[in-house]
């Protein structure tokens, strides 16, 4: 399968082209840590990686993109690009959860909880079995509450791990690594395996927009 993978959900702006399979599998990748400005860099990076892989857009079988959780704007940058390309190429775009890709970035042969820091006392978290099967839906959750419910000695991975440990006071938890974004190769791998219908390329914000309904000034009207 010839697949283009895109991740702009967090601080990295990453692109990969996955071409062939088995022993002839080729993976061409580019990744830059930007923090912000993904929209300015992404298309140039896609062009560079496609050129390096000598692949025309029309040859793509699939586009994989991380859908969140992550920066709201960042998610939409990646999704806009993936869906725009998919529209022209006529190939499906599949959405890959950021936490799933994060868990797939570390290979440990045991259950792992992918954790990213969110606003306030919250984290984004999702647990996975040793074979990568999700144990729960991705969630935005209070760090202390999530930590308290983890089994003894549970393995954590991701930039929110230290926050979870500090908030829950669970010294028994093991931090495998504190990566702030998934490995783009993991996104490509999951994208190749994903079932198209059950992985819509739609943002997974996990938080509502910051907006308060208009207040009604009841004193004003009779």
């Amino acid at each position: 399968m010839r697949l283009l993978a895109i991740d702009t959900a967090l601080d990295a702006c990453s692109v990969a082209v996955h071409d062939g399979s088995g022993e002839v599998l080729r993976l061409t990748t580019a990744s830059e840590v930007l923090g912000r400005g993904h929209a300015e860099r992404l298309m140039g990076m896609i062009g560079e990686v496609m050129a390096e892989a000598s692949l025309p857009f029309a040859a793509l079988d699939r586009i994989a993109v991380t859908v969140g959780p992550g920066s709201f704007t960042g998610l939409r940058v990646g999704l806009s690009a993936a869906r725009g390309i998919a529209l022209v190429v006529g190939a499906p775009a599949v959405g890959i959860g950021t936490l799933e890709a994060l868990a797939a970035s570390v290979s440990v042969g045991e259950p792992v909880h992918a954790v990213l820091a969110a606003k306030g006392g919250e984290i984004y978290a999702q647990g996975f079995a040793a074979d990568g099967t999700p144990l729960e839906a991705p969630q935005a959750v209070d760090a202390a509450t999530y930590g308290a419910a983890l089994p003894p000695g549970a393995a954590l991975y991701g930039s929110g791990a230290a926050k979870l440990v500090a908030a829950s006071g669970r010294e028994d938890l093991r931090i495998l690594g504190e990566a702030g974004w998934p490995d783009i190769a993991a996104v490509a791998r999951l994208g190749t395996a994903a079932e198209v219908g059950s992985h819509p390329p739609e943002p997974l914000y996990l938080r509502p927009p910051d907006a308060a309904p208009a207040r009604r000034d009841i004193r004003l009207l009779a």
Partner: protein, 384 residues
């Protein structure tokens, strides 16, 4: 379909229209309308809107009494690719048939602009077509050339929820801002009035409807900046005056609400009328050789009282008033595709290749780069 009576109505020189037809896909996502359209310019000068798809998000913002940027951005990403498909299907063209993809790159709500511009860049790159990064205001400024084949120069009054300004349009890329609001846009003032008086969103039609039953002389509201020379406008103070008056008269009966709306509408009509008179006079000074033309664009241009006043000011100044159809006056993608065509045609005529695939999304982007920053314009919202 819009066809001018004669291609010779165009005064842009021998380079326009271009040798071959130009077909451009336009994308607009700078505020609360998601839109895609395909427009074609034929070698004989015929302009044709092949498709024009718009989805308004009004319902999603209603509870908030105004456009919420994050809600707008979420709505754009949800439906934009589907709208592009629909626009191409309606037009009966494929990606291969396009000469370029044009998208609004600003000014506007940045989250939405990023969705539209990134989608457009992706389509352009995958289809191997150039990208034209269009200034939303330029889309409004050139619409009358799409609908009415209007020659340059002309005067434009853009009055919408995000913008209120007078522009002297002298050519593609040649815009002089004669005056602008220094704070709120006029459409925003209508929305805030409606919000205060609980008339719903969008506020323009609601306030206008209530005003029809009201007495415009009952409350004397200020006419901001009328006592000062120049063409700049201001509506923030009027908003405060309206609130103070409303609070002083609370509890408000339905008639009080109607009278407040009528008084507000009268105040802004007086301001727009007088500033238009001054702008027309300035136009006559800069271009004494031609009869002045005043083009109006933006949602507020649909207000009957304001429209009537503009007609009378134009008549007094011996000017022609051009009002493109309502659908093309408010935010749409046909105007973005058309602005893309105009810029492509210019580039082709100059023997240049136009491809702005590296253009950034810009929350602020004045059309007139020479214009000095307007006091107070560094506020939230879509300003330029």
């Amino acid at each position: 379909m819009i066809r001018p009576e004669s291609a010779s109505a165009n005064a842009a020189g021998s380079s326009f229209p271009p040798a071959g037809p130009l077909t451009v896909l336009g994308i607009e996502t700078s505020c609360d309308e998601t839109a895609a359209a395909v427009v074609r310019l034929a070698p004989d000068g015929d302009r044709e809107i092949l498709s024009d798809v718009i989805r308004s998000q009004t319902g999603e913002h209603e509870a908030f009494g105004g456009v919420v940027p994050e809600i707008a951005a979420r709505a754009h990403i949800r439906i934009l690719d589907g709208l592009v498909s629909a626009a191409l299907k309606d037009a009966g063209v494929g990606f291969d048939d396009l000469d370029a993809v044009a998208a609004t790159a600003g000014p506007g709500l940045i989250g939405g602009v990023i969705v539209g511009l990134t989608t457009a860049k992706a389509i352009a790159m995958a289809a191997g077509k150039p990208l034209v990064a269009v200034n939303h205001l330029e889309g409004h400024a050139l619409t009358a050339r799409l609908t009415d084949s209007l020659p340059f120069p002309y005067l434009l009054l853009l009055v919408s929820g995000g913008h209120t300004q007078f522009l002297l349009v002298e050519g593609v890329g040649c815009y002089r801002r004669l005056g602008s609001t220094i704070d709120d846009a006029l459409g925003e003032a209508f929305d805030k009035t409606a919000k205060l008086l609980q008339l719903g969103f969008p506020g323009g039609p609601a306030v206008e409807k209530a005003a029809m039953r009201g007495d415009p002389s009952r409350f004397h509201l200020p006419r901001p900046m009328l006592d000062r020379p120049g063409i700049d406008l201001s509506f923030a103070g009027l908003k405060t005056a309206l609130r103070t008056t409303a609070e002083a008269n609370a509890p408000l009966s339905q008639q009080d609400v109607a009278d407040l709306c009528a008084s507000f509408q009268q105040a802004v009509t007086d301001v727009i009328g007088e500033k238009s008179r001054r702008a027309l006079a300035l136009f006559a000074e800069s271009h004494p050789e031609i009869a002045p033309v005043l083009v109006i664009a933006g949602g507020v241009a649909a207000n009957t009282a304001i429209r009537a006043r503009l007609e009378s000011e134009a008549e007094k100044a011996g000017a022609r008033l051009v009002a493109p159809p309502g659908r093309l006056c408010t935010d749409n993608a046909a105007m973005i595709a058309w602005a893309g065509i105009e810029r492509l045609a210019e580039a082709h005529a100059a023997g240049e290749i136009l491809d702005e695939r590296d253009a950034p999304a810009r929350p602020r982007w004045p059309l007139d780069a020479e214009a000095t920053a307007v006091i107070g314009s560094g506020r939230k919202g879509a300003k330029a």
